[in-house]
């Protein structure tokens, strides 16, 4: 470990002093390879942003009873989480009421499939979710692959640029792919390595260019999570579990020494 750290260090410090064979590159390379690749990458990033907005999953309609069911579950969770903002008596009152409601399954939606648990794969909700997830992944993945193929196909087989910092010879295979020179310094790299560098480093550029488009998804954030995503337990089990949690829940009211706290804080 220590050795490798040392060797990297010496590499870094000695990099500029080492005699690097100077190649003279055609300046046209810059204007017809480096710039086009960069521009295309930035543009695809921006385009991807807009496409993601377009294919953002629509909020799907559910029957009203289903909504009621999930809201009661959410309410129990809210009481567990925020119960400390109530006084002890108020908490006790709600606790008893909610335990009764949840354990009794008053708002549970009766499923038509009697007793039979629906197979997870035939659930339309699940496939919908998977589809939207896949769409998101594809929107990320396809442009990347296309650009990589484009760069590899049209700009392969020559040295494009010189990196300003040295690398270990291990990178040679990756960064000089398609350049058939056995002992060329690793700092001379082909176009695919510019692709890699910009994939890593373009985040700040996107942030500067797209800084004012993020506010679109404000509306989506306001909705409370609805139950019934893939792999989540059935609402009946959730309700029973919450009823149990509530039975043992202790209330630690924030009013206990509030006077002291306020006095300390503001005087």
């Amino acid at each position: 470990m220590a050795l490798s750290v040392w060797s990297v260090w010496s590499l870094i410090t000695a990099g500029s002093a080492g005699a690097v064979a100077e190649l003279t590159l055609d300046p046209k390379l810059k204007y017809w390879v480096l710039l086009p690749i960069s521009i295309v990458m930035v543009l695809t990033g921006i385009l991807r942003q807009y496409i993601m907005d377009l294919i953002a999953p629509n909020t799907k309609g559910v029957p009203r009873v289903k909504l009621t069911e999930s809201q009661w579950i959410y309410k129990a969770q809210a009481l567990l989480a925020n119960g400390s903002n109530l006084s002890a008596e108020a908490f006790q009152l709600r606790k008893e009421h909610l335990i009764e409601v949840l354990a009794g399954g008053k708002y549970l939606v009766k499923l038509n499939t009697d007793g039979q648990a629906p197979s997870p794969l035939s659930d339309p909700n699940l496939s919908e979710n998977m589809f939207s997830m896949a769409k998101g992944n594809l929107a990320n993945f396809i442009p990347q692959t296309i650009i990589m193929w484009w760069v590899n196909h049209f700009f392969a087989g020559f040295v494009l640029m010189k990196l300003p910092f040295p690398l270990t010879p291990r990178f040679k295979e990756m960064l000089q792919s398609g350049v058939m020179t056995a002992d060329l310094d690793v700092r001379w790299v082909s176009s695919i390595s510019w692709y890699f560098i910009s994939v890593l480093g373009l985040n700040p550029v996107y942030n500067l260019l797209l800084s004012d488009t993020e506010s679109i998804d404000i509306n989506a954030a306001q909705q409370p999570p609805t139950m019934g995503g893939p792999g989540e337990p059935q609402p009946e089990a959730v309700m029973k579990g919450l009823a149990n949690d509530l039975t043992i829940a202790e209330n630690e009211s924030c009013f206990d020494d509030i006077e002291q706290r306020v006095l300390e804080k503001y005087s």
Binding site: E22, T24, P27, K265
Partner: protein, 140 residues
């Protein structure tokens, strides 16, 4: 402040571009020299280009900082007088963060507390009509 910041950013971009171009020219010239000549081996970017580039970077950084403005508000109701606070960012602790709302008379939970969906529209319109009539009378 914003105007100053924009001007500075433009100016510093010009500096950086120009120094980049000069540096480019210099290296093109350098390449036309024989590779083993004395002046090639001991080459260094001319001082004035270096200074220009560094000045460009520093100006840009300062311009970015100048783009921050002190927080300003108008009160939601009452006379419109600009309130300027003496800081650039919002405090995040809840009891301090809500001070701005108190100052301008805002209710961050208004969507709940003003019960906007239960407003009786006809009553509102009646009120307006009455007010308009009174105004007309006054003008006459």
């Amino acid at each position: 402040m914003a105007l100053l910041s924009t001007i500075l950013i433009l100016f510093s971009s010009a500096l950086i571009l120009h120094s980049g171009f000069s540096s480019h020219e210099f290296h093109q010239l350098l390449k036309s020299l024989p590779q083993d000549s004395h002046s090639y081996l001991g080459h260094q970017l001319p001082k004035d280009i270096q200074y220009e580039a560094i000045a460009g970077i520093i100006t840009f950084t300062i311009a970015v900082f100048f783009s921050f403005k002190k927080l300003t508000y108008y009160p939601l109701q009452g006379p419109q007088k600009l309130i300027t606070l003496n800081h650039y960012l919002h405090e995040i602790r809840m009891n301090k963060a809500t001070n701005v709302d108190n100052l301008i008379g805002n209710d961050p939970y208004g969507e709940i507390n003003h019960t906007p969906n239960f407003i009786d529209i006809h009553a509102k319109r009646e009120e307006t009509k009455r007010w308009l009539e009174q105004n007309d009378k006054k003008e006459i």
